[in-house]
């Protein structure tokens, strides 16, 4: 209980640093923040008007206080470009992004863990080498190249899947899934490589333990033994899954552009080109929040895998 409390408390400074960084983002710019937001075409008058309306003429600490107070109430500000509240913009875009992320994660876990165990069990053989070769390749070939290769072969040549775009879940599970298969396969490859490597390494280590030899010696068949090994290797694997969330979120941004999916990633890129800073700041806060939250949950889930860990 004590651990639980302190672990939750430990996320506060992280989020505070993120919030400070995000707030300071426009002030870190070498130029005048108001001019930056106004863009290249703005007149001096425009810039001054914008400065006053955004409160950029106030002292920095006052701006921060105001910003933080509104943030605490869940107010992320208003988009400069579309004049729509940012929370509303994010709500419109979260569906595709969440769909891709969750489906990719599920796909990656289903493939990567058996693959890693397989490689560990056959360590040193051609199976192991093949799996490791795949992992190195998946780490090296850029997400967007694989994306276009998938589009070119499965959507344009074979026409099994739509080339690009996203169909919301409300229009039926079938079309929704069809629109997500290629982006998710694309994104899952890197994630699979990451988790497979970690699974292989930890399971390989566990397989050398005495209790595994005992289990084998008393005649337990292979699958239950690998099950034992996997459970004992679960904690480092879970940690990797959590750290990989950052990789996943970053990958979604790129994948959404490749497959022309109107998600959070596309929103942030459009916002950079429109100098729409409230949106960029909110996406940073959101993704950091998701990362911290998922890693917190994973930390707390260790007791499920390993009863020796007690909080």
């Amino acid at each position: 209980m004590n651990y639980l409390f302190s672990r939750i408390l430990a996320t506060l400074p992280v989020m505070a640093v993120v919030a400070c960084f995000v707030f300071l983002l426009i002030h870190l710019s070498p130029g005048d923040p108001a001019a930056l937001i106004a863009g290249d075409m703005a007149t001096v008058e425009d810039i001054e008007k914008l400065r006053a309306s955004l409160g950029l003429d106030q002292p920095l600490w006052q701006q921060f206080g105001l910003w933080a107070a509104r943030l605490a109430q869940g107010d992320l500000g208003v988009s400069i470009f579309t004049h729509v509240p940012v929370t509303q913009l994010l709500a419109q875009r979260i569906g595709p992004t969440a769909s891709i992320a969750l489906l990719t994660m599920a796909m990656a876990l289903v493939v990567a863990i058996p693959l890693g165990v397989l490689a560990a069990h056959n360590a040193g053989t051609w199976i192991d080498r093949l799996v490791m070769l795949f992992a190195v390749l998946a780490f090296s070939v850029p997400v967007f190249l694989i994306g276009y290769l998938l589009i070119y072969s499965f959507a344009i040549q074979l026409q099994w899947f739509p080339v690009q775009g996203y169909v919301p879940l409300s229009e039926g599970v079938g079309p929704w899934l069809r629109s997500l298969v290629l982006p998710c396969v694309n994104l899952a490859l890197v994630y699979i490589a990451l988790i497979t490597r970690m699974t292989r390494a930890t399971v390989l280590e566990v397989l050398h333990e005495d209790y595994i030899r005992t289990a084998r010696a008393k005649g337990l068949s292979l699958l239950p033994v690998l099950g034992h090994a996997l459970r004992n290797a679960a904690v480092p694997i879970a940690t990797t899954v959590g750290v990989g969330i950052a990789l996943l979120i970053g990958g979604v941004v790129v994948t959404e552009t490749v497959f022309a999916i109107p998600g959070i990633g596309r929103l942030v890129i459009d916002s950079v080109q429109r100098h729409d800073y409230p949106v960029i700041q909110s996406v940073l806060l959101l993704s950091a929040g998701v990362y911290v939250l998922i890693n917190l949950l994973i930390d707390l889930s260790y007791t499920l895998f390993d009863p020796r860990i007690r909080y």
Partner: protein, 295 residues
């Protein structure tokens, strides 16, 4: 006796004893050799771009738009009729510059901050909290956000990619520093009154070089990929610069009719990153197998 006298003798005696182990070393570390060879080849091609390129990478030819690869245009032409092969060769320079600069810059910042955190107790908390915060934001998003506040140029891209990588080096250096701090030779240096900067430079830093070099290699690979991703997304190096990411972005609307615009720069990018990753894996295994657990 001149000091150079013994050298010829040892040199003459050495070869027969050395050839066998060295050959075995090469075979044992084939990933290292393969990675280094591939990377050197890519670097040589990029550096020799003016002589290898068959066309001017900026030359627009409206009559030769979207041509498939041919004897005249080895990798075909893009939507403006520019030669994809020549642009791809020149594009390697951007990736190389980014890879090397980011690895060097991130290592430098990371070493300074990491060793400070490891040895200066009051600074530890502050530095590590800031690093934790930076690590909570995905690399690409952080780089994109930084690109949003600075004018796009090669230098600013390098800065924007470096900042997300710094925490990785800091964490590594801090953990190494915490172990080294307790070592007898560091304590001895303290005891005789050696000043902290000297201890860090003379006694600590040399003992961190192996993991640092391996880490820097992986950072270079990540940097090359991130630069391409940023340019591909339209927030990287200026659009007119021939870089692999920019080329792939330009080919985005012609996937069905001119896939070669995306394919060739993408393949060069993949080979380069693969080479750096192989080099990193090879270095790690060759220099210190125990590192495999840490990185």
């Amino acid at each position: 006796m001149p000091p150079s006298a013994p050298t010829p003798a040892t040199a003459a005696a050495a070869p027969p004893a050395r050839t066998a182990p060295r050959w075995r070393w090469l075979r044992k570390n084939y990933t290292l050799v393969l990675g280094a060879a591939l990377l050197l080849a890519m670097a040589a091609i990029a550096l020799a771009a003016p002589w290898i390129a068959t066309h001017d990478p900026m030359d627009i030819d409206p009559l030769a738009r979207l041509q498939a690869p041919s004897g005249e245009h080895w990798f075909g032409t893009d939507a403006l009729g520019r030669d994809v092969f020549s642009r791809a060769i020149w594009g390697g320079r951007v990736s190389l510059a980014v890879g090397v600069s980011v690895a060097a810059l991130a290592s430098l910042l990371g070493v300074v901050l990491g060793l400070t955190a490891g040895f200066v107790r009051w600074a530890d908390g502050v530095i590590m909290r800031v690093m934790d915060g930076l690590m909570a934001i995905p690399d690409i998003l952080l780089a994109i956000a930084l690109m949003a506040i600075i004018r796009p140029s090669l230098t600013t891209v390098i800065v924007a990619i470096t900042i997300p990588q710094v925490p990785r080096v800091v964490r590594l250096m801090r953990s190494l520093a915490l172990t080294l701090r307790e070592q007898l030779f560091v304590e001895a240096a303290h005891a005789v009154g050696t000043r902290l900067p000297v201890i860090l430079w003379r006694h600590v830093l040399p003992n961190t070089l192996t993991p640092l070099v391996v880490q820097a290699t992986f950072i270079a690979a990540a940097a090359v990929l991130t630069e391409a991703a940023l340019s591909f997304l339209g927030v990287g190096v200026p659009a007119q610069t021939p870089s692999w990411g920019n080329m792939m972005a330009e080919g985005r609307n012609f996937v069905a009719v001119a896939f070669h615009i995306i394919l060739y720069p993408g393949l060069l990018l993949a080979v380069t990153v693969l080479a750096i990753n192989l080099l990193g894996d090879g270095l790690r295994d060759a220099l210190d197998p125990r590192l495999a657990r840490q990185l």
